[in-house]
Symmetry: C2
Subunit: 255 residues, 2 copies
């Protein structure tokens, strides 16, 4: 397992940890997700998991590492649409749509799990709450997409960078891969640029600024959030779009 995954919850796969943030599904039901037959595959940085236009047949889950949904313009510019973390669903559309309209790539060393549609459908029949839990995860991703749109359309480079760091941190906390203020950001500044719709150079300058203003501390790929309140204030961050229930938010705060 790769270094950035050492903080994982040993009792369950990240998938269960992730979905346990949805209060309406029981941990027993969720644990059944790990009993479905599957195949796993290891990927390296840059590997294409699903290409644009590829037909989709299996449900794919992230087990470890970071991946991304990306699109390219004809001019060769790249936009990262969404970052996928352990526990995330890569091919939710498999139930309704034949082909992917975007590309899924591995950003770090990753492990992904392939589950056949019918096996999952069988499980849903036995434990309908699981279907809802996956649907919740899908809705959460869409909330993040909406937030991403606001970030790209109406925030400055400075605000965007703050916002991204806070959001990733929060998502990592949800899967127990970050402490209160520290997390590993295993992607390059060029990839951050493609996420935020900026140039690599400007991302660099912005990170320098965040450091010089004492908002974050950075040691290589390790980020420490020094002043979360100030940062949240700068970029207008709130976590409503993650759709956590009240009780869950409270529980997270205790950690």
């Amino acid at each position: 397992m790769s270094p950035q995954n050492e903080i994982t919850d040993v009792a369950y796969t990240p998938l269960v940890t992730r979905l346990s943030n949805y209060a309406r599904a029981s941990k027993q039901d969720l644990a059944r997700l790990d009993t479905v037959p599957f195949q796993q595959r290891k990927c390296e940085p840059g590997d294409i998991i699903v290409g644009r236009g590829d037909s989709i047949t299996d449900v794919i889950f992230m087990i470890s590492g970071w991946a991304a949904r990306v699109r390219y313009t004809k001019g060769g510019r790249r936009q990262i649409i969404h970052i996928l973390l352990p526990g995330d669903l890569l091919t939710r559309e498999v139930f309704v749509i034949r082909r992917s309209d975007h590309e899924l790539i591995s950003l770090t060393n990753t492990v992904i799990r392939f589950v056949e549609q019918k096996d999952l459908v069988d499980l849903f029949r036995e434990a309908p709450d699981l279907s809802t839990a996956l649907w919740w995860a899908a809705e959460q991703e869409e909330g993040i997409l909406r937030e991403h749109i606001v970030r790209l359309g109406r925030r400055s480079s400075y605000e965007r960078t703050c916002h991204l760091l806070l959001e990733l941190h929060r998502r990592l906390v949800l899967i127990r891969q970050a402490t209160e203020s520290v997390f590993v950001l295993p992607i390059t500044q060029a990839e951050i640029a493609d996420l935020l719709g900026l140039s690599t150079i400007h991302v660099n300058r912005t990170l320098v600024k965040l450091r010089s203003e004492g908002l974050i501390k950075q040691n290589k790929r390790i980020i420490q959030i020094l002043d979360p309140e100030a940062m949240a204030d700068i970029c207008d961050f709130d976590l409503a779009h993650l759709h956590l229930d009240g009780e869950d938010v409270d529980r997270l705060m205790e950690d």
Copy 2:
């Protein structure tokens, strides 16, 4: 019914017309959607259909007019996340989530339809293809969101505007509210600006440029696309993200 909706398909509601673009559901099944008990409401431009943080109880469909999902930054800037047209679902998340993380507003005079969750669930039990059809519509919206992200992150104002016009035109064709090259764009330049992450003034200049270069013709709110190939080439438009099946694309081309 408001002026911009005169080109509707009289046989079915826009909802059925819209979903009939999904090949796997039969027209008979789709027509049953109109038999579900409902309540309708008229809205005027600016009306808030669902506020941020409001609890969601019913499934809401667009019947006529244009609406939008919007978010505001603390600084008062506005970002339009998605345009909703007749036949679109406004509150898909109702099955999993309690509160809306964004605001739904009416952009024109609109008619919206409220359907109770349980009535829809009952119908799904009788006609499971309908559930899939609605899921397809949701997936199509997410495809449009992904495209929107690319547009905001990696395209110039000129490309963005081209792209938006082509996309709206295509979506209107799908619900029989546009001819081959003409459609009504019933929103202000300020609203286009909030969609594209630009200033009103710059949207104006960009539209002037599109007109002066002979790409579009505009008479008040009526847009004619004069050179669709050139425009598609400029902004790298393709309609893969609308997830139409091959046969449907062919059918559209014949129209």
